[in-house]
Amino acid sequence: MSGPLTNRIRVLRAERGMSQSDLAAAIDVSRKTISTVEVGRFVPSTVIALKIARYFGVPVEDVFDLTDEA
């Protein structure tokens, strides 16, 4: 499920002192979903990507980025 999609979720979490479980509970997904998205193993749905961006209060492009190989 990994792909050319990188993300800054770990950084954004760290800036706010949040755990994976905190973020998971905040956007109503499981901790496993957050952890696999963070390491790029799972490409999230558009809905989950938008929920994450909205929660952090940033545009979705600031959370997810396509690498050059895409």
């Binding site: 499981s30 696999t36 998205v37 390491v39 193993r41």
Partner: protein
Amino acid sequence: MSYFRPGTRAEVTDRLAELTGMAVGLGALIYGASVVQSFSAPAVAMTLDTIRMVCGILVLAVYLPLTIWFKTRFSGVILNPWKSDSFMGAALKRAGLSAFAASVMFMVLLSTLDRLVLSRMTAESVIDLVLAVALLVFAVSFLLLGRDGGEGEG
């Protein structure tokens, strides 16, 4: 938050997906034992019968009550792992796709082998065999796809 007392709907949905995978694995054992049973000696057949019974009891006495308990954990909402956007929901759907593809390929293989296999088996055994292959591929795929490749809590 323990395994049997997940705190959020998303965690409960993941548990339901895991339970589904386990129950399908037990189903594969039941049908697989049934196929082997039709070719085995009476003593072995009795053991296989016991295995089938134990698996059946596990599905009825453990899987079903746990599934109902998890599904009704949050009143007013029926949780369905197949409709979930989560990592485990995706693993479930991909495992289903793998099982479908494997069972079709297996049936094509059986038909191209002409009468080599089919003439030696009853229709009941052939159906059990195809079901065993499909359920086994589903359970193994789900186990592999659903492994947590992420990093722990951090």
